[in-house]
Symmetry: C2
Subunit: 500 residues, 2 copies
């Protein structure tokens, strides 16, 4: 069996190399490639993608897994080998259930849906996107049918982003969370608004960049195994655990974008850089789910990067870097400004207190679409009603409403809830970390984040995909994903900022 396992690892290693190369092609496309090279790049990706898929779904891997699965039952269920076999077998089952012809059809539908969405959004005309979204939805329903019936059909979609998570669980979590967030926002809206005018002055772009680099370095980003570039949409990607790259964007008159964006992507990158060496070139050499990933990015961005102790250390340096803009802005004003709460229409611009509400309405609409309770053509109407209900706002047009996100045009249905779940997990982890390391505030005041990083490495990062998200959170915190710590955190923070 050891020999079969070694064989399996060799084959997984080759497939993993190819997926990593695919990621490099994608990174290059977004960061470097000139527009005129798009067609040849698409061809390269199609050729490589087909080969990688063939490798990962080869019958030899199937046979090896068939032989190894019973053997894995005899191992310690928490051993690396047992988990490698189990996770790989689940991946293999998922990948081989879906026929190649369906995958090819889906790529085409998505390519066209994406083009239509770009046009629809720029013209703020949902009718351009509607027939394409209908096709995407049809694809999703057919995709679900390739799998054994689940408790809820949406479970199958969710599982691709958040392995093991059930629709009912997410609904229960959000149902508990929603009224408390709505109530909090209402309380905040009754208080005088904080001043954040300093955030929209002009800030030298190179200096913004350099400051971001300093913060990423302080967080522990390993420049020997990665780099930062500019791209229109910030992202983190990796080509193996020793090559994890981040991107950011810099706006002259919105310095929060680059600064907090860099912290966010650094959080993602630290996770990938911390995956245990034993997982290299296996399918387990990644973060275990999008929610756990987001828990890392949001922790570094919000729990660290928007905290008072962090700025007690960094604010003098930021002021010295931008004396004209910040020389007369007190630390307290600055802190309140970067923590301003203001319901808004656009998810990616939302603050910590309102962000999850953007997610909840999307999840509800996705489930309704899959259940058939809402038709695609009625989506804008339902969208606007929910925005009014949760945020008290009315989108002036669909570009600022139902058309704002790229996800559905890319076939990503089941993705959104992971953002909110990540917020919740970030605070669960933070509370646990503080309980074992109560000195973190003082450490941050000295610009020292090493105890946080090493705790995250040993509790989260090193495991890669070994544990599914709920299991991992349970192991670390003693509880499954739970909204209570997040609500506590928000109430505490905004009581201070808004004097609730």
């Amino acid at each position: 069996m050891e020999q079969k396992l070694a064989q399996l690892k060799t084959m997984l290693g080759e497939a993993s190399d190819l997926y990593q190369i695919e990621a490099l092609l994608g990174w290059d496309q977004q960061v470097n490639m000139a527009p005129g090279s798009a067609e040849s790049r698409a061809q390269q990706m199609a050729t490589l993608g087909a080969i990688a898929h063939d490798k990962a779904t080869s019958p030899e891997i199937g046979k090896l897994l068939e032989a190894l699965l019973p053997w894995a039952e005899s191992l310690d269920p928490d051993s690396d080998d047992a988990r490698l076999i189990k996770v790989t077998a689940k991946d293999y089952d998922k990948a081989t259930r879906v026929p190649s012809s369906f995958v090819a059809e889906a790529s085409q539908v998505i390519a066209m849906a994406n083009q239509a969405w770009v046009k629809a959004r720029s013209e703020s005309d949902f009718s351009i996107f509607q027939p394409h979204l209908e096709k995407v939805l049809d694809l999703k329903k057919r995709y679900i049918a390739f799998f054994p019936p689940a408790d809820h059909p949406y479970d199958t979609l969710l599982d691709d982003f958040e392995p093991g998570m059930k629709t009912a669980d997410v609904k229960a979590i959000f149902d508990a969370l929603r009224p408390q967030q709505v109530e909090l926002i209402k309380a905040i809206s009754e208080k005088p608004q904080v001043d954040d005018s300093f955030m929209h002055l002009d800030y030298d772009e190179q200096k913004q960049w350099d400051f971001g680099v300093k913060v990423a370095t302080a967080f522990g980003y390993d420049w020997n195994r990665g780099r930062q570039d500019k791209s229109p949409h910030p992202f983190t990607t990796n080509f193996g655990i020793d090559d994890v790259r981040i991107t950011t964007r810099v706006y002259k008159n919105q310095f929060a974008t680059a600064l907090f964006g860099t912290m966010h992507e650094t959080g993602h990158a630290l996770y990938e850089l911390g995956v245990g060496k034993q997982w290299a070139r296996t399918p387990l050499a990644n973060g275990t789910s999008l929610a756990i990933h987001e828990s890392q990015s949001r922790m570094w961005e919000n729990l660290v990067g928007r905290s008072m102790p962090f700025w007690e250390h960094f604010y003098p340096e930021l002021q010295a870097t931008f004396p004209e803009q910040l020389g007369k802005v007190s630390l307290e004003t600055f802190y309140k400004g970067i923590n301003k709460v203001q319901p808004s229409l656009i998810r990616v611009e939302a603050d910590e207190a309102t962000y999850n509400l953007h997610i909840m309405l999307r999840l509800e609409l996705e489930i309704a679409l899959i259940e058939g309770a809402v038709a695609v053509k009625d989506l804008p109407e339902f969208w606007n009603a929910k925005v009014k209900d949760y945020l008290g706002l009315t989108p002036p047009n669909d570009a600022q409403g139902v058309l704002q996100d790229i996800h559905w045009s890319g076939g990503m249905v089941g993705y959104f809830s992971t953002y909110a779940l990540g917020n919740l997990v970030s605070v669960q982890l933070w509370e646990k970390f503080k309980s074992v390391n109560p000195g973190i505030d003082d450490q941050m005041r000295k610009g020292d984040f090493s105890s946080l990083l090493s705790w995250l490495r040993s509790e989260i990062h090193q495991y890669g995909r070994k544990y599914e998200p709920q299991e991992l959170v349970q192991r670390v915190t003693g509880s499954k994903i739970d909204p209570a710590p997040y609500v506590r955190y928000l109430k505490g923070k905004y009581s201070a900022v808004y004097g609730l």
Copy 2:
């Protein structure tokens, strides 16, 4: 047969995609990748390289070629299809003659030889490199034995870089050239040296970069299908005919490096960008040989970029960019300075008049090594004797002598002569071009290079690898590769610069 041809093109297209992706991995490694990612990149390249090689040498391609070759004989021999089949069949034959086990062994020997060379050069100690070079040479001899006997064993090596070229031809060309170049240098050395002190002042690096971009743009480099980056060693690479990238290096106190380096790489890039669309995703979608490639890079660098008409246009702008350094340097002084002749020890720093002599001595030593007339251990002695003979200099150490070039440590034996052949071809093409476009000097004085580029496109670039180098030069100029035009050119130029 049309169906078989279509099948062949599909398979070649996939192999071509994979080779292009390999090139991207290489580019990224040299331009972007952090040092700590080297091991995982090596693994990715090994996996992809094996798959690409399997694709390109698959028995299916062999069978298709076997069926198509007789049919190709019935086509117009100059038709694209006939040539595609012929060139592909030659590639296939070469690739399948060499067993994979040999290829794997060679990669290992080369990897270690390269490491040893880096150490040997940095310590200027040939004995570190000697055993590795012996192994490389042994590999080369075994490589030759996989092929049918040629007129000279070195022919087989030469053919990998300069298809169809014979050792005897190159020797004859160099024998005719050598005495004339030696004589010219002697004549120059008897004249007062020109002043190039202005070239070693400090020049702002960003301004150097920007000026290079301006020149590349004027030459016709298509930024929509490529980009320029920094790298320690300048190079041009391409991932298909629509993604051709150049790199350069910038030294503060050697402004010639970036400026003429950019022109040189632009020349290479214009060739690849000009390959006919019908060759996309075929093995013919590249320059036909290193010499023809070098004829393009050297033409733009030297015949254009070091010419008086070019600088009549660009010098005022360069002066305005660097008023402190060049404000008081006359156009004539500048022109003479950038065309200074001075025998030196290092090939890559050599001027136009001495460059070919560096090549000749390398060719002679390579042939002697393959013939067994010189043993590896005696190489430094022979090297130094030839440098004394041709250039009148004595290397103070091996780092500045036999250890200066990377080529042998990379298994590249048979490569060097292409540099000199490229110089010769550049002037043959230039003379032909001038005969059909006598107004080029005036066009250059206006910064207009479009007639040159469109002539090169229609006479050279569009054909890709359709014609072998000697055939191509013959078709364009009516003569095979010939040193006479180059000698004429050097004499004319240096008579003006040095008043011979």
